[in-house]
Symmetry: D2
Subunit: 391 residues, 4 copies
């Protein structure tokens, strides 16, 4: 008799593949819970879908997501599709009593996100959002240092998510550059991660002001669309880019700290620099996802002739997830953050507790994103009102 949770996954490109990979890793690294069952995978192109099903070892496949959310043999719906479809799938799934994991950003808009969160609260299912960077051991070590007051009072948070995949003006107009599908550009795709990390590490945001730019306003239409990392093809015709290429903003946190944020797809040389630094009254930390196994840590109370940022390789047994993986010094990769993330989701369901980060965190992120967008339009500081009773 199978005891594992039965997963139905919608989407099968970059994130679908990555989640499949993580589900297969789970029982080896987290044997404390029954291995999830990869029940059904859903996508629109039947041929590609069947190939994914076979290779990734899903039992069933379907081209209709309604089928996934309504099946009795599915406990969990995992949403790996473009942003515009999140709300409908998640709401339907939750109304069927399914636990839901949803990729970020939560919805196309703040109202969509709030809707999803309300349904989550009403239905009582376990819900989670894919802010995977929280699950890098180095980020969790930073969180520990903050929580244990080892950095003291926080003064500064500076965060950058820098990529360079669309600097070429002939790169085609893929769905991530279309506001009706993606909601926003660098802000929603990259800035959302920074905002979530800020919430996670520093706390609530009081107000924001920012500015957005679309440096390349027209691009060739995509004749064939691929997932992130794949090769999309360009056609001769051009169309307008309707999202931001870059958004930068300043933040005042409720606790008095100052934040600077930068999300851009126009930073040549940065394939995926997800960077933050925290400066407190007792110490500082620095993180760069391109060196995800390291956290730079500074303590002011070190002996006065040997003060300096320590390069901590976060692979020792005392570190977050330390001991679960390989011997010290044997680093992890991007996909390991997903293994940790799905382990949190699965264990929360098994233990009947809330998962973190969840749809509430998704709403909070979306609220800040919309405040940033408003400030970009008005040129003024915008007060952040999360409007969440349950916090």
């Amino acid at each position: 008799m199978e005891r594992g949770l039965k997963i139905g996954m919608v989407g099968y490109k970059f994130m679908g593949k990555a989640h499949s990979y993580a589900y297969r890793a789970l029982p080896i690294i987290f044997p404390n819970y029954p291995a999830p069952v990869m029940q059904i995978i859903c996508g629109r192109n039947p041929l590609d879908l069947e190939e994914a099903r076979t290779n990734w070892d899903w039992r069933l496949a379907t081209t209709d997501w309604n089928d996934v959310v309504q099946r009795d043999d599915v406990d969990v719906v995992d949403i790996c599709t473009p942003t515009d479809t999140h709300e409908a799938i998640a709401v339907a799934a939750m109304e069927q009593g399914k636990h839901v994991f949803c990729e970020k950003p939560l919805g196309l808009s703040e109202s969509a996100a709030r809707h999803m969160e309300r349904v989550a609260q009403l239905t009582g299912v376990t819900h989670m959002i894919g802010f995977n960077y929280r699950f890098a051991p180095a980020v969790l070590l930073a969180k520990r240092l903050v929580e244990q007051q080892r950095l003291g009072r926080i003064y500064h948070f500076r965060a950058q998510f820098l990529q360079d995949w669309i600097v070429d003006p002939d790169f085609p107009l893929v769905w991530r550059l279309d506001r009706t599908i993606a909601g926003s550009g660098a802000l929603g795709d990259l800035g959302s991660h920074l905002i979530d990390l800020a919430h996670f590490l520093i706390g609530d945001i009081a107000s924001v002001t920012g500015v957005s730019k679309t440096f390349v306003s027209q691009r060739p239409l995509a004749s064939k669309m691929a997932g992130l990392g794949g090769q999309s093809e360009s056609s001769q015709q051009k169309g307008p880019v309707t999202v931001d290429d870059a958004t930068v903003f300043l933040v005042q946190f409720v606790n008095g700290a100052l934040g600077t944020f930068e999300a851009t797809r126009f930073a040549l040389g940065h394939r995926s620099t997800n960077f933050f630094e925290i400066n407190g009254s007792a110490g500082s930390v620095r993180f760069d996802f391109e060196r995800m196994n390291e956290l730079s840590v500074y303590f002011q109370d070190d002996a006065d002739d040997v003060q300096g940022f320590r390069r901590v390789l976060v692979t020792d047994p005392p570190h977050p997830y330390g001991g679960r993986w390989w011997p010290a010094g044997h680093g992890l990769g991007y996909d390991h953050t997903l293994v940790h993330e799905l382990a949190e989701f699965v264990s929360a369901i098994e233990e009947g507790r809330s998962a973190h980060p969840n749809f509430t965190d998704g709403v909070k992120c979306q609220v800040v994103m919309e405040a940033v967008e408003t400030s970009c339009q008005t040129g003024r500081w915008v007060t952040v009102d999360y409007g969440l009773s349950g916090e």
Copy 2:
């Protein structure tokens, strides 16, 4: 018969010592012009002053700066005093026909700076401001790459000047924390350098918005004041800090680039991180003054399997000032930027040409600083109006 320019220097603490050091180095590294003569040094404390005069080998000393600006045996006045004294000394010196070098920021206010610049134009003397970071070879290499279009169209400029010398709330209320003497805090001391580098490397600024914080609002009064790097002493009594501990701001450049700026004295672990990065359509550069002999350089047209930031050690003969100093790989230090800076000043006078950066650059910096301060007060974007006809 002595042919070198006769220098009168006002101020003898951190900057005074550093300038003395640089004057002595000049004839060895820049033998193309007559060695400047260290004629007279001026300061308020006669005992300390005489010690400085002897050790640093100045011919004469005086406690009255009026004496310096009026002497016939002085060609050049070099102002190394706190900001509140710059205007009076510089104007008096220029009116006496002296060439003037002035430390940054130019004046206590935009109007003071404009006054100084007007007098400079009227008197026709050679004038220069101490934005020394322009003279780091790595910064000059960045400038070269921008000018030669090797980075393409510029999209981003992100700049940080991070220090940590006043994080301790018991650090005393030295003059740099007093608005009436210093003009402003982190913005004027650190941000001014960033703004100048932005002008130098990217171009004119269209508008700004920012926010300032004073994290520690009361500090012990200083019973004994020392120069930067010295040990000031605290008394029991406290007084208010009247300048910003940190100022962060966003910038829109005239050429369409986005800028993020952060100046703070509350970033533990950063003794003096003067950092900037430029992202263009063809490449990127990164600089950190704590590793001042290096420039990180990325080119998009590198072969597709070996793209990455190069760590260029800027000590080769083809580099700015390459060949003047030591063999390749033998780095320079902070004071060498001052040697370069004073070499520019001396050679400009000898050649009868304008020096760079000069009081016009000082005014431009001050205009942006005041725009930032205005935006900090109003919470809105402020348009930058340099109001300079001669540009």
Copy 3:
């Protein structure tokens, strides 16, 4: 009807877990061949074994490795046990016609290794040795640059494998410190990887001279033995350490290059620094496994003012294994080298070709190791004689 190769794995601690993990990842990342079937796992402790079998999803378990090598439903034997057992298991398996993957070093001695290699040649099975670092994309990029003559004639190879897990003199006498089980210490465990990388990247070795040290000669006996990365327990009694704590040696390559090698478990701060650098007449590369997603690359023909080591993040589509995993900038971890390694093994079997590195490479490594040991005893340079006809 199942088409995948049926695997029988002997050993279930650090390497057994890592291999299990990699087998599960294979069909997702390398769907071009049928997914291997995790048929049977073998270990000595029945309780621990059953736990491993369940969690890692092996079909069967046995405590007798003879059972594994003799079963008809096993195509491949994967040997993850301590060194002293390699020869017997591998030979028996090959004689049964099984393809064999064996962890490194190949055998307890050169003669054991040669025996294994002879049997491999006679039986015609596919054989491979676990020099996994060859499969880091950055190492493969280094290999490509060497092969394509992009580094020119090679002058220097310097290699270090630095760990620190036994610096504490109270760390117990685990099997890796016992010559009768492990063969040698730092030399066999760490130096063997460096020697293989040297063979892979530079070529054959002509002669060696070296010196070994055992810094801590007596250690507490281990009352409970764990795998690498686990927690072994110490007893009160002490016993002699019979392997080297550190071995350093010089190498003259057949092609005229000079090599310096250092393998140690006494380098505090280095959890697992597997470092090498190659200097050629046209360029240089540097690699450090602690930053395994990066290769530092220098080319002498770069423009003369921007020469410097490039930090290449080896995650782009043109890079080795590029495009198989995640988008550019999303790094890999230690276990991904094992996925690549097992993909090579599985595809070699499926294609009926030799795998690389194989037992011949294992012998070559062992020959150099024994030459180093001889030189440590005699204090003289020792000529390396691989004695392999088939090369």
Copy 4:
């Protein structure tokens, strides 16, 4: 009445310029002793010499070094010439009662060095050798950590001096490539520094074994010779290179530590990497002269979740020479090591004490160098016998 020591300097190319620079800096940074007087400079080419005299502000010039050593108005002879001239000048100067500073290596051979040291002992003058890297603040901090037992028992010392200025086979046959003038190549020029640092930081050497290579055996003759860093010119004719391009060697220290040394001029991308690392039972340090203001420091007793190499910027007041120069975070350059070095020399003379490092250190270095050369010829370990009674 002048109180400073009167200097007579022989040699006026790279080192002569650097020493001149340092003498001029001395009174500003080390005002505790009377400023040395730059009395007379000596060189062979009268025109170039007069230019140097004027620019660097020496009072007198002469083309005959005998004149320098015999003058009454010279207290100190500073020898900055090629190695083959050291012995004659130094001995003559000491016999005239002059204090002598000599660039490294001390002499063309061990016997020359021993001769110089004997004369130094007999005459009782103050003597010093130009191992300037001892005077980098980061190196002195490493020394402090070793002496204060903060690294514990030392296990490993690995040292590399990597340059790349003669990789081009068309680079001309300058004097540094001629054994009769330079004594040896990479070993004497670069390895000597490493050996001295080993003596300084770790202690006496028991035995060595090594190997040398001359990768490019014939080069164009130099038609015009320049100092290091200058542009020498090539002629059509070729001549043999009579020194080593690279020498690597292993070392056993008296205290049981293992050393690996590498000196090469064939490491592309390394303009002047003077690197060492020390691993002890309590901690480790790493230094790279290309980042000379930094020392990487690791302590095993750091809290178990924040262990890692600290990047210590060695510019704080508690650091060696801290407080003498600029504020924290304002780095030093190559020439500052010379200022420190000459400050040691001048203050030793003024205080009537021995200077360090001195000719005894020079002899010890030369003894090790000759042992390395012997081992390169014999292929065996060579015991180091310093043969110095006075230690």
